[in-house]
């Protein structure tokens, strides 16, 4: 790249550039800002026309009150449990299957791989009704199994793990075998540790996806005890239709978006890597 030159056009260009970035950044932050600000207002403030930009006196108690309206604590626990199980399930099934696709030769391998690729192309809404019926017949409506099991496998995950593991040299596996390691041990102690970046990418994407999932839990869950965070949010939404409860609604929203944001900020590198990977190989 050229060295910075402090000519007039360069300075004007630079100012325009940062101006554009600041505008775009403000656009990105506006809903979050307003959510946070509104969550700290009193009912009087939020129903004033036009509403103030900031609360005069931050009402932190709103965050306590919102937990009285919807079972937010319980929803948090449910979401954590369901998300953790789904993510671990997907990581396990995808990596094991991807390992077999990448490193073993067996009759039917290509056919099964084609099945995986074909499954990748079937959107969720196409199978929604039958999967709902299956879950209903299994008696999994309104329990954790119904929330977790349909998301226990990801065709895309299998594909991603296979692609990644193809690049792991076979010598590692041969050496382990000479040392007398069994097949599962090779997977567990050699392949998995070497697949860290792919696992982190797959895991972080699925964490966010599972944490934010709405349509499926909406269908499966009936009782408030099983509410996930988006469902709790949804019941706040109908509640918040009365303008004076909007502050509580926004407090609930603020609490609900934090975990996914935290995971993203912590694992940002893998997100970006994963996106670059899918984007450039696709």
């Amino acid at each position: 790249m050229a060295k910075p030159q402090w000519t007039v056009p360069a300075i004007v260009g630079s100012i325009l550039k940062y101006l554009a970035l600041i505008l775009a950044g403000a656009w990105m932050l506006l809903p979050f800002f307003w959510m946070f600000s509104a969550s700290l207002m009193t009912s009087q403030e939020i129903t004033r026309l036009p509403p103030p930009l900031l609360p005069t006196q931050p009402q932190w108690l709103n965050y306590v009150d919102v937990a009285r309206v919807v079972p937010l604590g319980r929803a948090y626990f449910n979401s954590m449990l369901v998300t953790t199980l789904s993510v671990l399930g997907i990581l396990f099934t995808s990596s094991l299957c991807g390992f077999a696709f990448a490193k073993y030769n067996f009759p039917g391998r290509n056919a099964l791989f084609m099945l995986t690729l074909a499954s990748m192309m079937i959107p969720f809404f196409v199978t929604l009704i039958p999967v709902f019926y299956i879950v209903k017949q299994l008696g999994w409506l309104n329990n954790y199994a119904g929330l977790v099991m349909p998301g226990i496998v990801s065709a895309y995950g299998i594909f991603l793990m296979r692609q990644f593991m193809l690049d792991i040299p076979d010598e590692f596996i041969d050496a382990a075998r000479i040392d007398g390691a069994g097949e599962f041990r090779i997977y567990w102690q050699i392949i998995l540790p070497l697949s860290g970046p792919a696992l982190a990418t797959l895991g972080s994407f699925n964490f966010v996806g599972s944490w934010n999932a709405f349509l499926w839990p909406l269908l499966v869950v009936q009782s408030r005890e099983l509410f996930t965070v988006p469902l709790a949010l949804n019941s706040l939404r109908t509640y918040g239709m009365e303008a004076k409860f909007l502050n509580l609604q926004m407090a609930g929203t603020a609490v609900s978006v934090i975990p996914a944001l935290a995971v993203f900020v912590a694992l940002q590198r893998y997100f970006v890597q994963g996106i670059a990977l899918t984007g450039l190989k696709g």
Partner: protein, 324 residues
């Protein structure tokens, strides 16, 4: 054949694949049973939750079914569900139109804005990671939560956007409560949510372009404009293709954002309002299935949309790949 040592080095194919000729007579390559064991959890789950249900969807789509009566007693109706959707169901046609408008506008704006954002971030810049993070925040936030935030921001009475318009001496707008503006609002919420994702993809693509091309262009005296059109854009073609194809696939399935921003508004209970102006195909399918229990129509609708997505993807791949 569990020990690699017994194989002669020159017969050892890459990996643990081909066994020596002596064992070829056996039914399976060595360790194939392990491989079957390893693929079975994932493959069984795929068969059970994706492939099987897909076939079941095909089956239901030619029947009348309310989800409650036993599968064996479903009434066969042939292609009646498809005929109804394509000729009699005004809402479906309307939803299809809205879905297309949503997709074309959303994909168009994302493709252009995403590229502009990436070009900005790819320049000499302070705190690039900070800006990138900012663009990415909406992407990891639940669509439901974002829909709720924007529904409040865009509220015609107490919404902040109208307050800001007031500061600029512009008249307040009805936004989501106007049939004329609601779909545009939904599109802008969706763009807001996903544009950061495309910025990151473009950015990866831009950073994959070798510096030498730009050096060579500079030597030839090309200006920035020429460099962009002659080097950057042609080399970004695969990225552009990926973005347009995946974004279209996703946009045609839009549901969450419409549901979040339009249900419950002004007494609308089934979403897609006001006056059906934001009704989209998946929402119509959802309502048919889980509000009216018309599973036949709902599955037929799902399959029609699936075919539409498939055909559009094929056309895009053809058109955009041709000139490379």
């Amino acid at each position: 054949m569990t020990n690699g040592l017994t194989e002669k080095p020159d017969t050892m194919a890459p990996g643990m694949t081909s066994p020596p000729a002596r064992t070829r007579r056996y039914f399976l390559p060595p360790r194939a049973l392990w491989a079957y064991l390893f693929v079975s959890p994932a493959i069984l789950a795929l068969l059970f939750f994706t492939a099987g249900p897909f076939l079941f969807t095909l089956w239901v789509s030619v029947h009348n079914w309310n989800l409650i009566e036993p599968v064996s007693q479903m009434g066969f109706v042939g292609l009646e569900n498809y005929r109804y959707l394509l000729t009699d169901d005004g809402i479906f046609r309307h939803a299809l139109r809205n879905t297309f408008v949503f997709t074309i506008c959303g994909v168009g704006v994302n493709t252009v804005l995403g590229l502009l954002g990436a070009l900005l971030l790819n320049t000499r810049l302070r705190a690039r990671v900070f800006w990138r993070t900012l663009f990415f925040l909406p992407m990891v936030t639940a669509p439901l939560a974002l829909g709720m935030m924007w529904a409040v921001l865009l509220n015609k009475n107490y919404g902040l956007i109208n307050t800001l318009l007031g500061l600029l001496h512009l008249p307040p707008q009805p936004f989501l409560s106007s049939p004329a503006q609601a779909l545009a609002c939904i599109i802008s919420i969706a763009v807001y949510q996903y544009v950061g994702y495309y910025v990151v993809i473009y950015l990866a693509g831009l950073q994959g372009i070798p510096e030498e091309y730009y050096d060579a262009a500079a030597v030839d005296g090309a200006n920035r404009w020429q460099t962009f059109w002659q080097i950057t854009l042609p080399l970004l073609r695969p990225v552009l293709l990926f973005i347009i194809v995946t974004n279209s696939i996703g946009a045609l399935q839009v549901f969450d954002v419409v549901f979040a921003a339009t249900t419950g508004l002004a007494g609308e209970t089934s979403g897609g309002g006001p006056a059906g102006s934001t009704m989209v195909v998946v929402l119509h399918m959802y309502n048919n299935a889980f509000k009216f229990f018309r599973m036949g129509r709902a599955t037929a609708m799902a399959l029609l949309l699936f075919v539409i997505i498939f055909v559009i993807t094929l056309i895009q791949l053809r058109l955009l790949r041709e000139r490379t």
